[in-house]
């Protein structure tokens, strides 16, 4: 009979040292991430504004969460947020892929000059991007100047002034800002694909489309997943760009969940409902982008 060994903790041997070394990080995570989240969750079960008090009278249980699902503005904000997120990411992918492939085809001297220029919007704060695009969408701005050259005007594309085009207008502004990030990441991914693959496909007579779909795209799959996760989280919580550009209007046509949460907290003093909206936004992000990411990682692990 084999005697099973049992592990015995020994302070002298320094068994607790790893735990002690991790302790500062754990405490930071606890106080900066876990505590505010739990505290926010707690507040969402009450009905209080800023300066309000937690008392049995203000406890409403799940009412704030139930209210969300019967609140037409919240539903509209959810739809807008999801549309914005998918529209923004789709555009980022398409534009980012085109531009990064194009930049790779350029001569080195030209790409060295052009690459920093196309990545410059990434350095601009989203609020400033909103202000820049407000002037671009102004009837006397640059957009309508060029549209005017081809016989079009504000009645053909009303931009931020009509409910039908306001969300699209904010998505276009987002593309302008975030595509450079996609270009940077995709360029790094493209450079990591072995040149031999392309040489082999050339010998086999594959055209540019087939080469892209059979070699480039599969090789960049992990890069796209990372971009989707980063951009997904970024777009689901979109606030500053839309706030500066349209304020959520006209007629709530571009209102996002974050703008609605902000409005509830700071304009209507409904802090608890605002937190409930924020927590549901977090869950929405997890469902749309977190679960597919986990599935992707698990399937990779199984392979």
């Amino acid at each position: 009979m084999v005697k099973q060994k049992t592990f015995e903790w020994s302070l002298e041997r320094g068994d607790l040292l790893p735990l002690l070394m991790m302790l500062p990080t754990l405490l930071v995570i606890l106080f900066v991430m876990v505590f505010p989240l739990v505290y926010g969750l707690l507040l969402s079960f009450f009905t209080i504004g800023f300066g309000g008090s937690l008392s049995p009278d203000s406890f409403v249980g799940l009412d704030n969460y139930l209210q969300f699902f019967t609140d037409p503005v919240a539903m509209k904000a959810t739809l807008n947020t999801v549309l914005f997120s998918f529209g923004a990411i789709a555009g980022d992918f398409v534009l980012g892929t085109f531009v990064s492939l194009g930049l790779l085809k350029l001569r080195r001297s030209a790409s060295v000059l052009i690459r920093p220029i196309v990545t410059m919007p990434l350095l601009v704060s989203p609020v400033v991007v909103g202000l820049i695009w407000r002037y671009i969408y102004d009837p006397k701005g640059i957009l309508y100047y060029f549209l005017g050259k081809i016989g079009l005007g504000i009645s053909n594309f009303p931009g931020v002034t009509a409910a039908s085009t306001s969300l699209l207008s904010t998505i276009i502004a987002h593309w302008w800002q975030v595509t450079p990030f996609v270009i940077i990441v995709l360029t790094a991914g493209l450079l990591s694909i072995p040149e031999e693959y392309y040489e082999a496909s050339k010998i086999d007579g594959a055209g540019p489309f087939r080469t892209f779909f059979q070699i480039t795209l599969p090789q960049l799959l992990n890069v796209y997943v990372v971009i989707m996760l980063v951009s997904g989280v970024d777009t689901i919580k979109i606030f500053d760009l839309i706030f500066a550009l349209t304020g959520g209007g006209p007629n709530n046509s571009s209102i996002s969940l974050s703008i609605y949460a902000y409005s509830q907290a700071f304009e209507q003093s409904n802090l608890s409902y605002s937190i409930a909206i924020s927590i549901l936004t977090m869950l929405l992000t997890f469902c749309i982008f977190g679960i597919p990411f986990i599935k992707h990682n698990l399937s990779k692990g199984n392979r």
């Binding site: 937690l54 969408y137 931009g159 002034t161 409910a163 209007g249 709530n252 046509s253 700071f266």
Partner: protein
């Protein structure tokens, strides 16, 4: 209640305060003197803020640091500061929008200053009663009024002379003038972006024709004939507005006037002084002003003003109260009015010939303020206002009939308690 059950987690709020301070930091201007108490003052970073800094530098009793923050971030920064522990870098004095006063006093954020006023012998009857009353809650005074604003008509007299038009005296004439200019490629400039500026315009039209948000019994009455009429006038004005007004707030309207993009505009009086600045305006010599009247011809303001108040968590309450009383004193207000034509809450100043010569819009503003009403200090008024913001945006941006939109709004808000 607030004292008995203080909100836990204040340290978190302090962290948030510091973080917001970094994110929304405006220009901080300090006049430090080691021998004096230090005051941190929160103001809106409007065109008046530079003047407030300049004036504050001459205050001898304290060293004043002015933190001017853009309007969109001002309230949240003040709210975060109120949660902080006294003496932890929180605001001592806050410049509060009159519409936030009820919320701030209910939450216990502001200090009653009656004792300080009495000790200093301040006569509060010098302030316009309608404005001073907006600083008093439950019989206690929580601040002193200043910087009154209302929406008035600004027009380019040259364009009017060329067109042979008379200054509109009521809403129908205003619509006719807007239509005339729209048919000739411009139109009227007004704030039609989804936001509170549109509500201010709607409320002025409503008040001018004798309407209000509630009936005599205090019940919501936003689908009344007068409310529907005000919404219809707003709809007509938007129809004949300059292209792009659906994306305009107050600032863009004033800019359109100054740049001669619109021959007539509905501007906030607080921005009118910039029309006289040759570096910013093309209408310095031609701009004139008129009251913004309803269909009845009566012009009544949505009385909007600012309040100098002392934060309850100030560590220097006496010094803060001294600063508030000094900033709203006759001489200091006159100095500010002469410098940038802001409208003081002191009645006598509006009759001062020196000031009248500098601020040609003052008669129109004072006429409207005299007949004006303030938004009701109700806990749930914010809900009505937020809903009005969206309804007016719908009216402005779609073919929806104003009567239908207002009826729907009335129905949507039936369950909201507007009794307290």
């Amino acid at each position: 209640m607030y004292e008995a059950y203080p909100l836990p987690g204040k340290s978190m709020n302090e962290v948030a305060c510091l973080a917001l301070g970094g994110v929304f930091a405006g220009g901080k201007t300090e006049t430090s003197d080691p021998g004096k108490p230090n005051l941190l003052v929160s103001v809106w970073a409007g065109p008046h803020a530079d003047l407030q800094k300049e004036v504050s530098s001459t205050f001898t009793k304290s060293a004043v640091t002015i933190d001017d923050v853009d309007y969109g971030s001002l309230k949240q920064k003040q709210l975060t500061s109120f949660q902080s522990v006294s003496g932890s870098g929180n605001y001592d004095v806050v410049w509060v929008n009159s519409q936030w006063m009820k919320e701030y006093t209910d939450a216990g954020y502001l200090l009653p200053i009656d004792g300080y006023l009495k000790a200093a012998g301040i006569d509060t009857s010098i302030y316009a009663k309608g404005l001073f009353d907006g600083c008093v809650f439950n019989g206690q005074t929580y601040g002193l009024p200043t910087f009154a604003q209302t929406m008035i008509i600004a027009y380019d007299s040259e364009a009017f002379e060329k067109a042979g038009l008379a200054v509109p005296k009521n809403a129908d004439e205003l619509i006719a003038v807007a239509k005339y200019f729209k048919e000739r490629g411009t139109g009227i400039a007004l704030p039609a972006k989804q936001g509170t500026a549109a509500v201010t315009l709607f409320s002025q039209l409503l008040f001018s024709d004798g309407g209000y948000y509630f009936d005599a019994d205090g019940k919501l009455d936003i689908a009344s004939d007068k409310a529907v009429q005000a919404a219809a006038i707003y709809d007509e004005l938007v129809k004949y507005s300059v292209e792009g007004t659906l994306a305009w707030h107050h600032d863009e309207v004033a800019e359109a006037m100054r740049m001669k993009d619109a021959p007539i505009g509905l501007i906030m009086s607080g921005l009118a002084n910039q029309n006289a600045d040759p570096e910013k305006s093309l209408i310095v010599d031609t701009v004139k002003y008129a009251p913004l009247a309803g269909r009845s011809g009566i012009a009544a303001a949505t009385n909007s003003f600012w309040v100098w108040a002392v934060a309850k968590n100030s560590a220097n309450a006496q010094a803060a109260a001294d600063y508030v009383m000094w900033m709203t004193s006759y001489d200091v207000e006159k100095k500010q009015t002469l410098a940038d034509q802001q409208v003081s809450a002191i009645n006598e100043l509006s009759k001062d010939p020196e000031i009248l010569a500098k601020a040609p819009f003052l008669p129109a503003v004072m006429q409207q303020l005299a007949a004006g009403k303030i938004d009701p200090p109700l806990a749930n008024f914010g809900k009505l206002k937020a809903a009005l913001v969206v309804s007016l945006s719908e009216i402005a941006s779609s073919d929806s009939a104003p009567a239908d939109v207002m009826k729907r709004l009335q129905a949507d808000l039936q369950g909201v308690d507007f009794s307290k």
